[in-house]
Symmetry: C2
Subunit: 336 residues, 2 copies
């Protein structure tokens, strides 16, 4: 049975969504969850779920807590008994396979990286984000763990993304694209020029060449590889655009006339469906790939459902042996 170390003190509304998400997860996913945080706080919240004692849930005490205001550096240096640190240690020691946290993203990344270490052959971890596309889903990485990535790092991201798509989307030959500003090999910047031949040389990766920003949502590829600065901008621009489209402009536009008002009322259910498709909490958070162990980072405002979905993602990765796939591709197969 897969064990998830869940940071119970990470999110904006801790520990309620974390505890509720954990209870939902153990009831529906066949996993075990270790809730990490201040024992009295976590236990108090668990009391709202009668019968929790008979579920595969336990509490692990951590005396400190990292806030959204703490810098990643401070979190790592000063708070040695933080919930995210203790949770990461559970993965390091093998007691759990995956850490899940809705805490300060920078602090979670720095802590997980320091405590768990990297997979052999990986220079830096990558934060991966799933996008809905016309044809299903695609994963983009890196979306913010690194800036000024090297060409070698992009090749490693390609391997990680390929493993993600194989495990999570059950694709046998995921299509991998390099995000650039034109499809031709010569279009791009210094980084993509240098990375292109490295991605092309990856023997077991179905590299289809450069893709443009519009391909992110078209479903042309399953994996989109990019530097973390570029990926973060793409992700945030998308979030901002969806927010504007649905929260304000469309609403105003629909209210202009009575006919439109009626239209808006009737179409409301459909909008809700659509927003759900683009809401990446539904995808269960963003995995930090390339670590020696698994880590899934959720939005600070995650609901219980988002926490549960992040746990499901961690379980999928553990059962799909995603890290073995990455390590084999980067270290083993090249020489066989």
């Amino acid at each position: 049975m897969v064990t998830i170390a869940l940071d119970a003190m990470g999110g904006d509304h801790f520990p309620k969504p974390e505890v509720e998400g954990a209870v939902q997860a153990v009831k529906t996913l066949g996993v075990r969850v270790i809730l990490v945080g201040k024992e009295d706080v976590v236990r108090h919240e668990l009391q709202r779920h009668p019968g929790w004692q008979s579920l595969p849930i336990e509490i692990r005490h951590a005396s400190e807590q990292i806030t959204m205001e703490d810098s990643a550096g401070k979190a790592v240096r000063a708070k040695k008994d933080s919930s995210i640190r203790v949770a990461s240690r559970l993965v390091k020691t093998g007691e759990a396979q995956c850490v899940v946290s809705a805490g300060n993203t920078g602090a979670v990344m720095a802590t997980a990286k320091m405590v768990q270490g990297m997979l052999p052959g990986v220079d830096r971890p990558a934060l991966a984000s799933a996008f809905p596309t016309l044809k299903g889903s695609a994963v983009m990485l890196d979306v913010g763990a690194n800036v000024d990535s090297s060409p070698q790092m992009l090749a490693q991201f390609a391997v990680m993304g390929d493993a993600f798509a194989r495990v999570s989307y059950r694709k046998t030959h995921p299509r991998v694209g390099l995000l650039s500003i034109g499809e031709e090999e010569h279009k791009g910047n210094a980084l993509t020029h240098d990375a292109f031949p490295l991605l092309k040389a990856l023997a077991h990766i179905n590299f289809v060449g450069n893709v443009e920003g519009r391909d992110v949502y078209s479903g042309a590829v399953d994996v989109i590889v990019c530097d973390g600065f570029v990926g973060n901008v793409a992700l945030k621009v998308s979030e901002g655009l969806v927010e504007v489209l649905f929260r304000q402009v469309l609403k105003e536009s629909l209210k202009e006339t009575l006919t439109r008002k009626v239209g808006a009322y009737l179409a409301r259910g459909a909008f809700a469906d659509f927003r759900k498709r683009v809401d990446y909490a539904e995808y269960g958070g963003a995995p930090l790939l390339g670590l020696n162990g698994l880590c899934v980072i959720c939005h600070g405002r995650s609901t219980a459902k988002a926490i549960r979905n992040a746990i499901r993602l961690g379980k999928e990765f553990a059962e799909g042996r995603i890290n073995e796939r990455i390590a084999t591709e980067l270290n083993g197969r090249a020489s066989t």
Copy 2:
């Protein structure tokens, strides 16, 4: 009266939208248009507009034409009498103030740059794109004229964007942001770190610091400064997302039940309104700023209306003396 040199052979459906757009422009905007292209082709199209001879429109012959397949380099080297080259020369000699083309973007940029040259103090031109925001409009630059921009180039882009917002949005103190992955000064990559103090040092620019991708559409700033690779990705991701949202997913979603079908029917007018707001043909094309002369580049698939709007933008820039503003800021005022 402002004179526009319009490439009549550039768009996907030339010369119809170009000629029709020119006729609309001279009738409604108080400008003069020189249509540049094969004389017989342009004249034949103009015959569809009876009475054109009495309008401030003339034809200038150019024997060659650049296609979407031509490389920018080839266009510049091999086709010395192309319509875009002849049109750019009209700006160089002062016969026109602005060149407008719906042709091959790379070729238009390379030709305009070579023929017109740069404004003093500008290293490289920047392609600017207007975005609809919650509060009106914002301009982003560069969106694809340059990759691997230097910090100095980003500072120049800030000055160009400020001038754009003053002239086009009539803002007296446009808010200028540097696109990064976090608002704090230390968040970003090597380029934004180095550019930040240069933007801060611009005496007459209202630099508000770093902005994130989500701020592009929120209206938090009037001008968004970034490297052309990053800006192009942001633009193309947005276009792709809007395309997917409206063309497919929403449509499918709305068709699920009869109620939703009715809702979709009633809301259709509102969707059309909204799409219009995000369709950047409405904004009249993307200006290439920093040249010694003006240049507006339209989509290949521009309609007559888009061509007319591009001409309007050129007129606005000429009358607002945008280039004098840029040159003064970069060369003059610093020492006064």
